[in-house]
């Protein structure tokens, strides 16, 4: 499917989703957090979608809008198309459903997002810090994170 067809198919099924064409042939879909899990299941299980390969899952911090994005990039081996699924989460209490039962590779990606941004993935089987030590305080990739090691660096 080319990206216009992908956007049409997703927005027809999920009217709450907004989509833009994105760069580099990756259509970008923004969904409310309540629809995220249903959309993920649709993308994984629908035969025309068949997104079987997890490319990337990460976060982006936006302190001014008081949101943290959860960004999921998917690829389909059979259909050779890509999609980006974005969810804007509340920065004070970022919570989102896990998708690691659909794409096993997301288990570690989500652990890293939890570690770096403090996003809680509900129903994740093993939500521990992955890079930092278990007793680390704070979430290092949040824009307002400070500690003595990086004092004096521009932010």
């Amino acid at each position: 499917m080319d990206k216009d067809q992908l956007i049409a198919a997703v927005t027809a099924k999920f009217p709450s989703a907004t989509a833009d064409a994105g760069v580099n042939n990756v259509p970008c879909v923004l969904v409310p957090v309540a629809d995220y899990r249903a959309l993920a299941e649709f993308l994984r299980k629908d035969a025309a979608m068949d997104f079987d390969f997890p490319m990337c899952q990460t976060g982006v911090d936006w302190p001014e809008q008081n949101t943290i994005w959860s960004v999921l990039h998917l690829y389909s081996m059979s259909q050779n198309h890509k999609i980006e699924v974005k969810v804007a989460l509340d920065r004070a209490d970022p919570k989102i459903a896990t998708v690691c039962d659909l794409w096993a590779g997301c288990e570690w990606f989500e652990r890293e997002t939890y570690d770096m941004y403090g996003v809680t993935f509900e129903n994740h089987p093993d939500l521990r810090r992955i890079m930092m030590t278990d007793d680390w305080v704070g979430f290092p990739l949040r824009k307002d994170y400070r500690d003595s090691r990086i004092a004096g660096k521009p932010f």
């Binding site: 994105g22 760069v23 580099n24 990756v26 970008c28 079987d52 390969f53 997890p54 490319m55 990337c56 990460t58 982006v60 911090d61 960004v71 990039h73 081996m77 050779n80 890509k82 980006e84 794409w103 096993a104 590779g105 288990e107 570690w108 770096m116 810090r129 992955i130 890079m131 930092m132 030590t133 290092p140 990739l141 990086i150 660096k153 521009p154 932010f155």
Partner: protein, 378 residues
């Protein structure tokens, strides 16, 4: 007196085994760096593997928010340091895509040539190190003999042997040296002979075969679900190479095959790497024939300021699928960069495929995944 039979319940009770934990690493030669694996064992048999990452986590994603784009390329060298050129390239791709920079023809060819040479050097080192992991110390000297020739040539062109910082936004900073063509021919011819030696020395060795065949089987479905890439994915029988299936740069101009395995065991991952080296030589030979004249750097590049938006690009490094996710706010520095590294995903299958094997097999499996720890931790 009553005789106790070995099969009696009393004896079985008295001789029952107990699970215990062993730390493998963080300082262990076969983990190729600082990776710590906690192994839950029953005797010699692995019941569970728990990888602990982060021993060399340097926060490169945070560091990438501090500097302007051209000053970030050197950070990527130090992720997958065995194929640093390809990591440089992976960083430059989304920046060029977002800002619409077109790399000159000769620049693209030099990138392909140097990138494939770097891939060959990386696989040569893997061959040596894997042989060493499995107790064949001779393989190490053979692998490094050819790697030395390649690294010497890369040094002549880029000025560095490991951390190149050679692929820049818009092309490459310097053209190749005058004696580049004969040296590349020499390397290709030497490598073709050397690969036969590698096969005879290691791959036909019965100990190597016993240590790799049937060990650590990764099925096709699980490989895709975990998002692994490169020779690990192809070893599981998935005919997928980003250079062919999602081509970037000028890879669609070359004729080469995608070698695949059948069973997805350590043996298949190994022979796929060896076969891949032959394909890299084919690409290099074709690129040398087609190499056009002209500039290697896009002219008139002053400010690197990708417009506001998100870009995701991916590239086939020596270890698999490396992606860079760039969020720009239109400024001279990135707002956010995510490095999706190949080794991170490739290692994430280890807990699944190492269960039920012996400790020595974990070494074999880990070696066949060819992980580079700084690439995992970033």
């Amino acid at each position: 007196m009553e005789t106790i039979q070995p099969s009696s319940p009393q004896v079985k009770d008295a001789l029952k085994t107990e699970d215990y934990f062993v730390n493998m690493g963080p300082q262990h030669p076969s983990t190729h760096g600082v990776l710590r694996l906690v192994l839950k064992l029953d005797g010699e048999t692995v019941l569970q593997t728990i990888p602990h990452l982060g021993y060399i986590h340097r926060g490169k994603e945070r560091m990438s928010e501090w500097d302007v784009y051209p000053q970030l390329i050197h950070l990527t060298d130090r992720m997958d340091y065995l194929s640093g050129l390809l990591c440089n390239w992976a960083f430059c791709l989304p920046v060029e895509k977002a800002q619409g920079i077109v790399v000159p023809e000769r620049g693209e060819y030099v990138r392909v040539l140097m990138g494939e040479l770097n891939r060959l050097a990386s696989h040569c080192l893997w061959f040596g190190a894997y042989g060493m992991d499995l107790g064949a110390a001779t393989a190490f000297f053979y692998g490094f003999r050819e790697r030395e020739m390649i690294v010497d040539l890369i040094e002549a062109v880029t000025g560095a042997r490991l951390n190149y910082n050679y692929i820049r936004i818009g092309g490459v900073p310097k053209d190749v040296t005058d004696d580049f063509a004969p040296r590349v021919t020499d390397i290709c011819e030497t490598l073709k002979r050397a690969l036969e030696q590698y096969e005879g020395l290691v791959f036909k060795n019965v100990i190597f075969q016993e240590r790799t065949k049937g060990i650590g089987v990764l099925s096709r479905e699980r490989a895709i679900a975990y998002g692994v890439g490169g020779p690990v994915l192809r070893g599981s029988g998935v005919k997928f190479d980003l250079r062919k299936n999602d081509p970037y740069s000028i890879y669609d101009r070359f004729d080469f095959d995608i070698p695949v395995g059948v069973n997805g065991d350590c043996w298949d991952r190994s022979i796929v790497r060896l076969a891949e080296m032959r394909q890299s030589i084919r690409i290099i030979e074709q690129a040398m024939k087609q190499l056009p004249e002209g500039p290697v750097m896009a002219p008139g590049l002053k400010a690197i300021r990708p417009p506001k938006g998100e870009t995701y690009c991916r590239l086939e490094t020596a270890r698999g699928d490396m992606g860079v996710y760039l969020v720009s706010e239109g400024g001279p520095k990135p707002y956010r960069i995510k490095y999706r590294s190949a080794c991170f995903s490739n290692l994430s299958i280890l807990p699944e495929i190492s269960v039920g094997w012996k400790i020595a097999d974990v070494v074999s499996i880990l070696g066949s995944l060819d992980v580079v720890i700084p690439d995992i931790d970033r």
